[in-house]
Structures are given as structure tokens and as C-alpha cells.
Amino acid sequence: MRKKLSKVLMKGNEAIGEGAVRAGCRYFFGYPITPQSELPHYLAKRLPEENGVYLQSESETSAINMVYGAAGAGSRVMTSSSGPGISLMQEGISYIAGAELPCVIVNMMRGGPGLGNIAPAQSDYLQAVKGGGHGDYFVVCIAPASVQEIIDFMYDAFDIADKYFTPVMVLADGILGQMMEPVEFKENQEMELPEKPWAANGKRGRESKNIINSLYIVPEDLEEHNFKLKDKYSIIEEKEQRWEEYYTEDAELVLTAFGTSARVCKAVVDKARQEGLAVGLIRPIMVWPFPQKAFDKVIHSAKQFLTVEMNTGQMVEDVKLAVAGRRPVYFTGRPGGMLPIANDIFEEVKKLMSGGAE
């Protein structure tokens, strides 16, 4: 049991750093980019206190390959970036998925495409949940919506990475990174980290060598490896779906939103309920695996769905797959670093509930 301690005020980006350290992460490799800078600043101070290593790499390409090496050597390791840097990491993430190494990657999403801007956005949803790099793989994606959740989810992120030998992405946006909220830390206990007998850290008397590899030159062998990965992803899809339900039991219109847009949507649900409208919210906490089960659960009362995102419509594709044609699915969103406004969404909700979608 971890005992609760008193609350402290913390910025989201720093909370990621502190959460990671408390979850046993001792290695961080990264390259500067806004809007996640407070995280490397924090870890540059914090990791040496724990005999860990903070290293600023020459690029995100290098950072993710340093992560590959450090993860292969058996450590808990993390990197963090935003849009353009995450794109540069995709080849490395694919290798990490192929070699089945555990690590955590933070994406503090900003506006795109291209250089876009540094304002908060949810523009990388599809890149995050559909693999992102080359080859046949998925990355577990966790989407906190508060600074407290960041702290709590860092433990989960590292645990899931180790449990399933997989990269885990923490998908958040610049608002969450900059936001200051009171958080509660659990008492720091000695963490029991899993043994990693597969790690390539020198044979040291081991009978045979360990090899970290994603190359399977014989097609039959790669096919077998691909099916093995697929089986793993199926288990993750079955066991790790996570979501929050907010007034969904009797909801006729179900909003779907994650992260910062979910916070806006909660205000919309509150307002709708005050006016007697049966509106609820499904907030995916895991965006991969996507919470299919949440949609099966509400489908009996739900008449329609409205997805709200800080982009031009990405997660709405997964909502449509989850609803599977059983009900209409609508979308509203603001890209480019603009925030969806509760009043605007509420107007949309009223229009839909009065049958005025078309």
C-alpha cells in the first residue's frame, strides 16, 4: 500500500518527470522542443540526484536510438518530444516495437502539419494509435487529462511497457504540460522492478548471449514473429482498455473526447444535465487500445455520438469503428492550437438533440 501525502502544486511537464522518477525511470534521452521543455529541465536536475542519467541528444532520431540501447540493457528509460520530433522518432519506435523493448515516449502534442505551431493540439492522434512508423505494430497510448493523472499514469506506463515488452506513449497536449494543479504523491516505497534476464548488458557468466534484434530474414520466421506480436496486441486490447464514464448510463447523446478536450466536454455535460438533456461523455484514457467496451455498454441508450477533438477529426474514425454503424457519429473540433469552446459544443449538442444534425 502506498500512503497518501499532502498536496503540492505542480506543472504537468514537471509531473511527468517526477512521476517517471518515482516509477523507477533512471534514464532520459531527448532533444529540445516546445511545449515540453520543462520536462527535460526538471529531469536534468532530478535524475542525477537518483544516480540516473539525463542526456541531451543531437536529434530525436538519436534520442530514440539511445532509448533502444538503454531499454535493451534492461533499464527503465524515457524520452519526450512534440510533433516534429515524434515524427523523427518513428523509425526507432518501429525497431523498439519489433525488438519488443519496454520504454516510455511522451508526446506533448502541438499544431501541425510541418512546423505548424507550438500551441496545444491533438493533431498526432492517428500517428500515435495506428503504429506511426513502418511495419505491423501498435504502441500502447495513454492519455491523461489532469496533472494528478499524469503522476498516477507514469507508474502504469512503465509497468505496462515492462509487462508486455512494448513501447508506451503518453499522449498529452501543451495545455496539460503547462497547467499547474495540486497533486498528491503516494509515499515513495521501494519499487520492485521486474527481472530482465533477456537484457543485453554483458553475458557475465550467462550460458548464452542475449541479442536485441528486429531482423527476421526468413519470411516464415518474420510471419511467425508478426503473429506473435498480433497475439500480444490482442491480449492488450482485451485487458488494457481504459476509459472514464461521465453520466453515460441514460445518455441519449454521448460525447467522446480525450485529454484536454474531455475536460471541456465535462463542462458541456454539466450544462446539458442542468437543462435536463440526457448527455454523457466517454473519455478514453487508453486511446490504444481504444475502449470498444465503453461503446458496447452505452449503445442501448445512446441515440447518437459526438466526438470532440483539437484537430479536424481523427479519433472520430475509431469512434465510428467502435459504434460500427449502429448509431450516427458526428464530429466537432478545432485544429491549429485553438481550444474547443464549451458554449459552441453545447450549441452543437442542442442542435443534434433537437434532430437538427443535417
Binding site: Y27, V53, G69, G72, A73, A200, N201, G202, I211
Partner: protein, 247 residues
């Protein structure tokens, strides 16, 4: 009778996939001999990216990483930071290190990363079919320079040993060749020295090894050896470019 030559213990006894006459196998053996002689098979950790030597993890009997194209120095950095008492080396081709991986190698050297890089310069991209490499000589014919490398279109070959030896973080930098027994012996000494410098935590070490590729050069192994001697060595002079003070 005294045994003068034997397979190094850390060299797995399995058939190699290299073409007849290819000198990759010799360079592998020199690394394995060094691992044996420095008694470090339990601490040695190798990183090899793509290229003809991608299967080195099958041949050398220590812990190994297969890395993406050009990124071995970054992977080795991650490994070494977690395992500071490991003896970490990369084994990279010239396309890998002198083109796609220049940022990684330059910054590993600049950081003085305590690793050893074995850089195999065969003047072509061998694995992908003999295309021009950054180290391809002026006038040299490759599948992508059918009329020979010309400066107008392709610029000039990159001299990695010279370039890296200018960095303060690098500690031991040399260029050797394996085209004849005398040079093989010298190469072995240099590789061993590089590992020793790493084991003394003196910083970044690299041995550039000139190597033949009969298949993509379109020459017999014998002709290849001659071609290396007459063409590569004049452009890529052999020797130690940087040696730490006390070694």
C-alpha cells in the same frame, strides 16, 4: 607442436554468409581475438546496424544489438550509459557511418562517449548492390556512378578518421587495412589498443579498417587486394591519427 593459430573462443563456429574473399570475416576475427585476449567476453556488448555485417550478432559470442541504419553510436551510447562497466563497440560500414549516420558518429565522438567504433570502409554500399558511398574514390565506377565518381555531381570522398580526430572528445583514432598479413597484424594491434583505451575510460575510440568488396568492385579477391593497395591507401593514409597521451 606449438599451436600458432586457432579460432578465438568468442568467435562462434558457424558458416559465415560473406562472399568468397570478403575481408569482413577477417575484421570480425580480429575483434573476437581482442575480446579473448582482453578477457572481456562477459563485459563486451556489440552494436551493428544494417549493411553486409548485419549478422555479426550470430558470429561473435557476446551480447549484441542489431541497430537501425546509421544509429549504432546512439544505441551504443544508451547501452554504455546504463552499463558503464561494459565494453561497448559498434561495427559499421561506410554508408552507414559516413552518410546516414554522420550526426550520430560525430556527436558520440564529441561527447567523448566511451565506446569503440570499428568502421569498415570498402568504398561502396555493398549490401544494397554496390552503389556509391561517401567514401567512393574519385573516378571509381559503382552502380550509381556508371561513368565513375565525378566531383561536379558527387563531390568528394569523406575522410572519417581525419575528421573525427579533430574533435576533443575523441581519444584514439586510427586507420588500418586488412589487405595483407602484415597489415592484418597492425590492424589487430590497433583494434586492441582502441579497446584498451576504452577500458581505461579515456573517451571515444575508432579504428577505420580499409576492406575489400570483390563482389561489388567486380574484381577477383586478388585483384581487389591490389586495387585497395594502389587506390585506397594513397587517398586514405594508414596510421594513428590520435593517441591519448599516456598510451
Amino acid at each position: 607442436m606449438k599451436k600458432v593459430f586457432t579460432r578465438p573462443e568468442s568467435f562462434n563456429d558457424i558458416p559465415m554468409h560473406y562472399c568468397p574473399g570478403c575481408t569482413h570475416g577477417i575484421i570480425h576475427r580480429l575483434v573476437a581475438e581482442t575480446i579473448d585476449e582482453l578477457n572481456m567476453v562477459d563485459r563486451a556488448i556489440g552494436v551493428a546496424p544494417v549493411g553486409c555485417s548485419v549478422f555479426i550478432y550470430n558470429y561473435i559470442d557476446c551480447d549484441m544489438y542489431q541497430a537501425s541504419h546509421g544509429r549504432a553510436p546512439a544505441v551504443a551510447t544508451g547501452v554504455k550509459r546504463v552499463v558503464p562497466d561494459g565494453v561497448v563497440f559498434t561495427y559499421q560500414g561506410d554508408g552507414d557511418m559516413a552518410a546516414i549516420g554522420t550526426a550520430e558518429i560525430v556527436h558520440a565522438a564529441a561527447r567523448g562517449e566511451n565506446i569503440t567504433v570499428i568502421f569498415v570502409n570498402n568504398a561502396v554500399y555493398a549490401m544494397t548492390g554496390g552503389q556509391m558511398a561517401p567514401t567512393t574514390l574519385m573516378g571509381q565506377k559503382t552502380t550509381t556512378t556508371p561513368h565513375g565518381r565525378e566531383s561536379d555531381a558527387n563531390g568528394y570522398p569523406v575522410k572519417m578518421a581525419e575528421m573525427l580526430s579533430t574533435l576533443d572528445g575523441s581519444s584514439y583514432i586510427s586507420r588500418v587495412s586488412v589487405h595483407d598479413p602484415k597489415n592484418i597484424n597492425k590492424a589487430k594491434k590497433s583494434i586492441k589498443k582502441a579497446f584498451e583505451v576504452q577500458m581505461e575510460n579515456k573517451g571515444f575510440t575508432m579504428v577505420e579498417v580499409l576492406s575489400i568488396c570483390p563482389t561489388n568492385w567486380g574484381l577477383s579477391p586478388k585483384e581487389s587486394v591490389k586495387w585497395l593497395d594502389e587506390n585506397m591507401i594513397p587517398y586514405y593514409p594508414l596510421g594513428e591519427y590520435k593517441v591519448p597521451a599516456e598510451v
